[in-house]
């Protein structure tokens, strides 16, 4: 934990933290900081904030530390933390909610993770299904990791597991429309939530 100037934390910061907890369906006060979530996390070694610390900073209203953290972007969404928490705090959902809040605040502390998911959805929007070979290729291009997994790509080709053919769903235009409507509904919900938060202030 870093030392924190609590008087520098504003009401708006606290509300932003509460909003994240609300999105995740979590009551931040439930967490008594036992650290069991962190103990079981398979990626804790690589995180800048331990899962326990993410909750702690949210409790304290330290929104900026949380939104800038790499942890939620490294998190594999494996749900070990939530499943083992003695207080039933759904930390995995908190990670997801933090990451979305961070993304919507225009941040991407681990650009690769953001690029991967965006490319994945773009791939599904274009074809209705995910074409792994093109996903990997575009991901490498955009993330700048040009040679990543190239050896494995060759091995996949040799086994006939992937090929140049693009798979498409018949109704891919319909899938694209579903994606667009879902993202519109998402934007509406967020706009409404921001309005209520603004109204409270």
């Amino acid at each position: 934990m870093r030392s924190l100037n609590l008087s520098a934390i504003s009401d708006a910061d606290r509300r932003a933290c509460e909003a994240i907890a609300g999105e995740a369906g979590v009551n931040l006060k439930d967490c008594y900081q036992c650290g069991k979530c962190t103990a079981g996390c398979p990626l804790a070694d690589s995180m800048d904030l331990m899962p326990r610390e993410v909750i702690r900073y949210l409790q304290l209203g330290a929104i900026d530390i949380v939104l800038d953290a790499k942890t939620p972007w490294i998190c594999a969404q494996c749900v070990v933390c939530s499943s083992r928490c003695p207080q039933n705090v759904d930390i995995c959902s908190v990670m997801r909610a933090v990451r979305l809040a961070s993304k919507h605040a225009g941040k991407r502390p681990v650009p690769e993770a953001d690029i991967f998911d965006d490319e994945f959805i773009a791939n599904v929007r274009a074809h209705g299904v995910s074409n792994e070979q093109y996903l990997a290729a575009f991901y490498n291009l955009k993330s700048g990791h040009l040679m990543q997994d190239m050896g494995n790509a060759t091995r996949m080709l040799a086994r006939g597991l992937v090929g140049p053919a693009i798979h498409n769903t018949k109704g891919r235009a319909n899938v694209a429309a579903v994606i667009d409507r879902a993202l519109e509904a998402d934007a509406e919900r967020r706009a409404k939530a921001a309005e209520t938060r603004g109204g409270e202030a």
Binding site: V110, E112, I121, L161
Partner: protein, 350 residues
């Protein structure tokens, strides 16, 4: 005949080919019919969930709604754990309230009442009927094969969504393996995450996730890892070589742990050749171990037969001895009786 709506998932024809091949081999043999949902789309997996909650619900709901319309009355089977979790989470959300269902219908622009259940292949294989059908079709038991059953994270967690009552130590796959004669080992990483997406986005940090799984399987005496998810399979099987290269560079022993789909092993037990169920296109060589264990099993059976024959011989010898003793006793008794009779006759004569 058991019939299900089938959600293949994007890897079914590509990186998960062996799963598809072996599933249809086994399904055919045991009379499970899988009818592909027409015009299904990608479930969105964690990429959708990490983009928008609405999207995470909508993408699976589109396919589920098509299934409800085109294949009414059939539950949906999603063999890939990633697809399963996405579909199941969407279903759980839809079943929560009419309001949720109305929202979904607006987004997918189609009717949907969340009638059908979503199942993993392991759940289908859990029924008594399927187990009996498998037992009836087994031609050779995979004895001597020590398997670490790897369930991964997405099939069991979140427990309330996946309706899983044993998140840390699930048993369905272990039971199936016992049914075909293999020996499941008890190990600690059954439901540990392998970090399929993280291997792309944070490969350096994510590599130990895979290595620890191999390590724990090896430490508990497993010959191989058995999985029920194409994402786990690709991740483990394809990356074992990279992990081994790094281990060798560090001066450590490389692993030699092939991975199989549980359906491949059931297929083998039903008499399939390894290539028939897709084992020939694995990354890590997977046939040598099977041959070795088949040989071990034959030798074990031979030794057991020998022991049984020796036992039979011993039994026969004992039986002969018993019979001889009985005859001896009977002869002696008869002799004694005839002396008695003679003595009695003498007495009567006097």
């Amino acid at each position: 005949m058991m019939k299900y709506a089938y959600f293949p998932g994007c890897s079914a024809e590509t990186t998960g080919k062996s799963f598809t091949i072996s599933t249809s081999y086994v399904a055919d043999k045991i009379g499970v019919e899988l009818v592909e949902i027409p015009d299904w789309n990608c479930c969105g997996t964690s990429a959708a969930a990490l983009t928008s909650p609405e999207l995470a619900v909508a993408l699976p709901a589109r396919s589920l709604a098509i299934s409800e319309r085109e294949l009414p009355g059939l539950d949906v089977v999603a063999p890939c754990a990633g697809c399963y979790r996405s579909l199941k989470a969407s279903l759980a959300y839809a079943r929560e309230s009419q309001e949720n269902r109305d929202q979904i219908k607006r987004i997918i622009n189609a009717p949907y009442e969340a009638k059908a259940d979503v199942l993993t292949l392991l759940e289908v294989f859990e029924s008594d009927d399927v187990r009996e059908a498998i037992t009836a079709k087994v031609q050779r038991k995979l004895r001597c094969l020590k398997v670490a059953c790897y369930y991964g994270c997405a099939m069991v967690r979140p427990a309330d969504v996946c309706e899983c009552d044993n998140v840390e130590d699930p048993q369905q796959m272990d039971e199936l393996m016992r049914l075909i004669g293999a020996e499941p080992v008890s190990w600690a990483f059954k439901t540990e995450c392998c970090g399929a997406a993280q291997q792309m986005t944070v490969p350096v940090q994510a590599k130990p996730m895979i290595e620890r799984i191999f390590q724990n399987a090896a430490a508990n005496g497993a010959d191989c890892i058995v999985t029920s998810c194409p994402l786990c399979m690709l991740n483990l099987d394809m990356r074992e070589a990279e992990i081994n290269a790094a281990r060798v560079a560090r001066g450590e022993e490389p692993f030699d742990i092939p991975c199989y789909y549980f359906t491949e092993l059931i297929g083998l037990a039903m008499g399939a050749e390894p290539d028939e169920v897709g084992i020939g296109i694995h990354f890590h060589p997977a046939k040598t171990l099977l041959l070795q264990r088949e040989l071990d099993a034959l030798e074990l059976e031979y030794a057991e037969n020998e022991a049984r024959a020796a036992e039979e011989r011993k039994k026969a010898e004992m039986a002969a001895k018993i019979a001889a003793k009985k005859a001896e006793k009977a002869a002696k008794a008869a002799a004694a009786k005839s002396t008695d009779v003679a003595a009695e006759a003498e007495e009567v004569a006097r």
